[in-house]
């Protein structure tokens, strides 16, 4: 039974102290594992954390505000290429390139978000899809700047002379950035801003009547979402050290959507769960190939098929995603008759 005695208890992120302790323990465990668990584990952890940032970004737009984006990989590409061009061609230090990449993506996000007032549902989905295609094409054609279809090499970042040139070392950066993203997102979403976004999702008419400027907030949602996704793009570029258009296609945009749907729309915890799921899935598929009949095992499209089937199953049977399942388990646990 939780008795609340003050309003500040109502608005805390975690209402019980022990949850903070759990979080700290998990964070410590992840850090230790990243340093001691070997290169492969560190790489996977980096990838998971980057995907979490993307998932949070997309969730703000689709889960909280209800705006569909089928072109989010484009924002990641903008972040990645901006960071790559800044560090490689203009010798900008990484600690500066990272926020600039986020800002650049955010700026484009704002421009994309402005006309979104007039587009709803499927029309917005199509417009963002077209946006994604156009960005990809621009990257391919702007050979001089982006290296065109052949892609671009990126160097591992150095900060103050310390080179983050291994996966465990790079994880330290990803960890810090994710912590900042998580905190800032949670704070923005639990206050006036987050409520305004969900109001837009649930009833635009009522939101307007309550004084929410629809066009402005939709553009802001796009901007914030793009900033986070752009940051993730920059981190991604400096992780895999070689980027090309093939890393940011429509299929990637769709996999982002799978992430947040499977994780649970409209919740940060859901975004985390979804990101973990999607990052680990290819490994699970590769791992379980031994038990599959030969015809399926060797098929190149197996991963895509699993994505597609997973998406369909979750939307139909478990629309609240893993997070919804988690809540149900918690409720079952709490109401267990013993």
């Amino acid at each position: 039974m939780d008795l609340r005695e003050s309003y500040s208890r109502d608005i805390r992120i975690f209402d019980e102290l022990y949850k903070w302790v759990w979080l700290a323990l998990m964070a410590a465990a992840l850090l230790i594992y990243s340093q001691a668990g070997g290169n492969y584990a560190a790489y996977m952890l980096n990838l998971i954390f980057i995907n979490i940032i993307v998932a949070i970004g997309l969730n703000i737009l689709t889960g909280y505000t209800g705006l569909i984006s089928l072109g989010h990989a484009a924002f990641m590409a903008i972040g990645a290429y901006t960071s790559a061009i800044l560090t490689v061609k203009l010798s900008v230090p990484f600690w500066l390139a990272l926020p600039i990449s986020g800002a650049m993506a955010g700026l484009i996000g704002f421009v994309v978000g402005l006309p979104s007032l007039r587009l709803t549902g499927i029309y917005l989905a199509l417009a963002t899809m077209a946006f994604g295609f156009i960005v990809d094409e621009i990257i391919i054609e702007w050979h001089a700047v982006t290296g065109g279809a052949e892609g671009m090499s990126v160097l591992p970042p150095t900060i103050c002379g310390f080179a983050f040139d291994s996966y465990p070392k790079y994880f330290l950066i990803t960890f810090v950035i994710l912590a900042l993203v998580l905190l800032s997102a949670k704070n923005l979403l639990r206050g006036t801003f987050g409520r305004a976004l969900t109001a837009i999702r649930d009833s635009e008419t009522a939101a307007e009547t309550m004084g929410v400027n629809l066009g402005w907030y939709k553009a802001l949602a796009f901007t914030l979402s793009a900033v986070y996704t752009g940051l993730a793009g920059s981190l991604y570029a400096h992780l895999i050290l070689f980027i090309s258009v093939d890393n940011f296609t429509l299929l990637h945009s769709i996999s982002f959507i799978v992430m947040i749907v499977v994780g649970g729309l409209g919740s940060i915890t859901g975004a985390v769960m979804g990101a973990v799921f999607i990052t680990i899935l290819p490994e699970v598929i590769a791992f379980s190939k031994e038990w599959l009949p030969a015809a399926i095992r060797n098929a190149a499209g197996l991963q895509a098929a699993v994505y597609g089937i997973t998406l369909m199953i979750f939307v139909i049977l478990q629309p609240k995603g893993f997070y919804g399942l988690w809540i149900r388990v918690k409720i079952w646990w709490r109401t267990f008759p013993l």
Binding site: T62, G66, E141, A299, G308, L311, M312, V315
Partner: protein
Amino acid sequence: MIVQQIISGLALGCVYGLIALGFVLIFKATEVINFAQGEMMMIGAFVAYTLITMLNVPFPLAFLLTPIICGCLGMIMERVLIRPLVKESVVSIIMVTIGLSITLRALAGMIWSYDTLDFPHLFSEEAVHIGGVIIAPVYIWVIFVTVGLVLLLYAFFKFTTVGISLQASAQNPLASLLMGISVKRVYAMTWAISGMVGAVAGIIVAPISFLNCNMGFLGLKAFPAAVIGGFNSIPGAIVGGVIIGISENLAGIYLPLWFKDIFAYVIMLLVLMIRPEGIFGTHEQKKV
């Protein structure tokens, strides 16, 4: 040369239009956007290919069987995937059809491999002279089939009981239910017809384009077609498709080649900005 491009654009545009027609049918009847429409076209092409080359079915028979098979597939998809989501939000339904399109593409890859296959040519390669213009016969075939199919559908919707009941359900499901029309059956029929239309599109496009499991990407071009024509307009879908097909080719002549790939989407964005309902579509406003 320009006329050549216009003719081939017209033919390709007919295919875009047919796929868009498949969307619009489903959208009008059920308010669902079927992202997998392009994949339905792909499956149609593959099924026809299998019938003709592997089972040695004569072409006319294959032409009849394929839509029937794909129609059944459409009904199954509706029953299993879409029916459970009748009351859900747009987001959910879009996700499911996206998932469907990915899955279908991957399954096709598994069944028919990822190579590009050679669809049997039915017409001679020799061009035909019509009114001073040189046209490859296969293009005439495409246009002919499209027109024929559209007329057939028009007659179906206007003159048969089933067709009229489909229209009624699209406009007012509740009233239709009260009139004794089984709305469930209507949904199933709509998806079946869309599947058939998609199959026909696949059969006619395979000879003029390519046949592999990424064909569904052609289907993506049908979105601009549907947007231009208007998402709830059946003639609009064909008109939109033809506009896209022709202007794409013309863009290829006058603009740098790389622009041609995204030209359709640029047009779509412009239309969405200026007049989202498209040429023939109608704008709905919610009543508070």
